[in-house]
């Protein structure tokens, strides 16, 4: 049994970097951008983990097994 995992959850996280001649605006924007990237990447990570756990639960239910805790 397999669940469909969104493609975004399989991609690497993003890292905003400063341009060559950064301004104060670039720094502020990069700060905001990196925060957003953390939240987005954690959401993708959480989705991937929850999908894996859900697949395991489905397999356990299918075979009537009680999987020991990892």
């Amino acid at each position: 049994m397999r669940l469909i995992l969104p493609e975004a959850a399989t991609r690497p996280c993003a890292l905003a970097t400063l341009p060559a001649d950064p301004t104060a605006g670039d720094l502020d924007a990069a700060y905001a951008q990196r925060g957003a990237q953390i939240v987005a990447c954690d959401g993708a990570r959480r989705l991937a983990v929850e999908t894996l756990l859900a697949e395991r639960a489905m397999q356990d239910a299918q075979y009537g097994l009680k999987r020991p805790p990892d």
Binding site: M1, C13, A14, L15, T23, A32, Q33, A36, Q62
Partner: protein, 159 residues
């Protein structure tokens, strides 16, 4: 013609035929009365085999139905998770777009960073990209998760 004369007239083949006929008649009569000759209990074994096959078929059908039910429930739960993820991603992008816009329009937005400070930040960017070159925004990275441009302006020094 009396029975005795008939018996005397029979040849050995006639006796054999008569014996076979009598045996067949006896078997037919006993069969009609419900008598069954099954010393090895083959019929019972066949019956048991049929019952086992029927039980197996029911078990397989039940397992397949359970598997389909689990798949349906799993797909529904996964759709909820994906929907939640997409809603959160959209909200994050919206909030970030606002924050970036405000950063760009601030009074000091165009003030260049002091060189030593910029060099220090560039150095850290380069180190992060050296440690994790697959991250979106680093040289050679694939399309990153999380949306948005990783590089905030052209001329990214991260490579």
């Amino acid at each position: 013609m009396s029975p005795g004369s008939i018996l005397r007239a029979l040849t050995p083949w006639g006796w054999l035929a008569a014996g076979v006929a009598a045996l067949a008649l006896g078997v037919a009569l006993l069969g009609g009365l419900g008598f069954r000759w099954d010393p090895l209990d083959l019929q019972q074994k066949r019956l048991e085999t049929t019952r086992t096959q029927a039980r197996d078929a029911v078990a397989v059908a039940t397992a397949q139905a359970d598997a389909r039910r689990l798949e349906t429930e799993g797909a529904a739960a996964q759709a909820v998770r994906v929907d939640h993820y997409q809603h959160r991603t959209t909200a994050v992008e919206r909030a970030t777009a606002t924050a970036v816009s405000q950063a760009r329009s601030a009074d000091d937005a165009d003030h260049p960073l002091e060189h030593r400070r910029a060099d220090r930040l560039h150095g850290h960017d380069r180190e992060l990209c050296r440690l994790a070159p697959d991250l979106g925004g680093c040289t050679g990275a694939a399309d990153p998760a999380g949306g948005g441009d990783a590089t905030l302006r052209p001329g990214d020094p991260a490579g």
